[in-house]
């Protein structure tokens, strides 16, 4: 199981800014190890976010996204106390969901 994500959600006016830091290797499949063998690709393919269980966002990612990916987005009409959950799925089928409360 992968390490937990760090999610920070802050309300400002009628919207909330959500910042997510995921823990993932994000191998492109193009790098080679010291023996000259290609390291197989391993990256997050799909990220989705929901507020109080209602989906707000789905994203498809390729291997060009940096290691330990960062993502920031703004959720409309969110207020303090709302629950933001973020899920990712990688190309090996591993997945992780974490939740944070808007403050």
């Amino acid at each position: 199981m992968a390490d937990p994500m760090r999610i920070r959600a802050q309300a400002a006016g009628d919207k909330a800014t959500v910042r997510v830091l995921m823990s993932h290797e994000m191998e492109t499949g193009l790098r080679k190890d010291s023996a000259g063998k290609a390291i197989p690709a391993w990256f997050i393919q799909e990220v989705s976010a929901a507020i109080n269980g209602k989906p707000v966002l789905t994203a498809q990612w390729g291997p060009s996204v940096s290691k330990n990916p960062f993502m920031q987005f703004n959720v409309k009409s969110a207020k303090a106390g709302d629950k933001i959950s973020v899920t990712w799925v990688d190309n090996k089928g591993d997945k992780r969901t974490d939740e944070a409360t808007v403050s």
């Binding site: 193009l30 080679k32 393919q45 209602k54 940096s66 960062f70 987005f73 190309n91």
Partner: protein
């Protein structure tokens, strides 16, 4: 003794089981647009995502540094204030696969995303907005990289 008919029925069953278990490589996620991530140019990416000819627009903004010291972590953002955006995509023109990320926009989220991408070399970074009415708008920005992010 097994008849030919039984054999065929059994092999069909096995094939079905294999497919159901997702054992074929690359089928982990049905929704992931493989063709779009394999495309090399913006026009091909947009085509693979089901859009028409892209047009440059001032209403789409791409943010990022002019010079990135480390190509492995380049902070970029894409913003548009236009209503009716269906999808925002981030492309790095000279990467082995141009498309870096594609965000599906809903009514509950602003068309404003920031993330970090890898860049192999200095290149144009492009934000593409696909609208509900079928228009495809983009904005490009050149980012110079002093140290590429794809070396080992």
């Amino acid at each position: 003794m097994q008849t030919r008919r039984e054999m065929l029925a059994r092999s069909a069953q096995v094939a079905g089981l294999l497919a159901a278990a997702g054992l074929l490589p690359g089928t982990a996620l049905a929704a992931w647009p493989q063709a779009a991530f394999e495309a090399k140019t913006m026009a091909d990416v947009v085509k693979a995502l089901g859009g028409g000819a892209p047009a440059e627009s001032k209403d789409v903004t791409i943010t990022g540094p002019d010079i990135a010291e480390n190509g492995a972590v380049v902070p970029v953002g894409c913003v548009t204030a236009l209503p009716g955006v269906k999808r925002l995509a981030l492309l790095v023109e000279k990467n082995p696969s141009a498309l870096a990320a594609s965000f599906d926009v809903t009514d509950l989220v602003e068309a404003n995303f920031n993330t970090r991408v890898k860049m192999g070399q200095s290149s144009n970074v492009i934000a593409v907005a696909m609208m509900n009415d079928g228009r495809v708008l983009y904005a490009a920005k050149e980012i110079k990289v002093t140290l590429g992010g794809c070396g080992g």
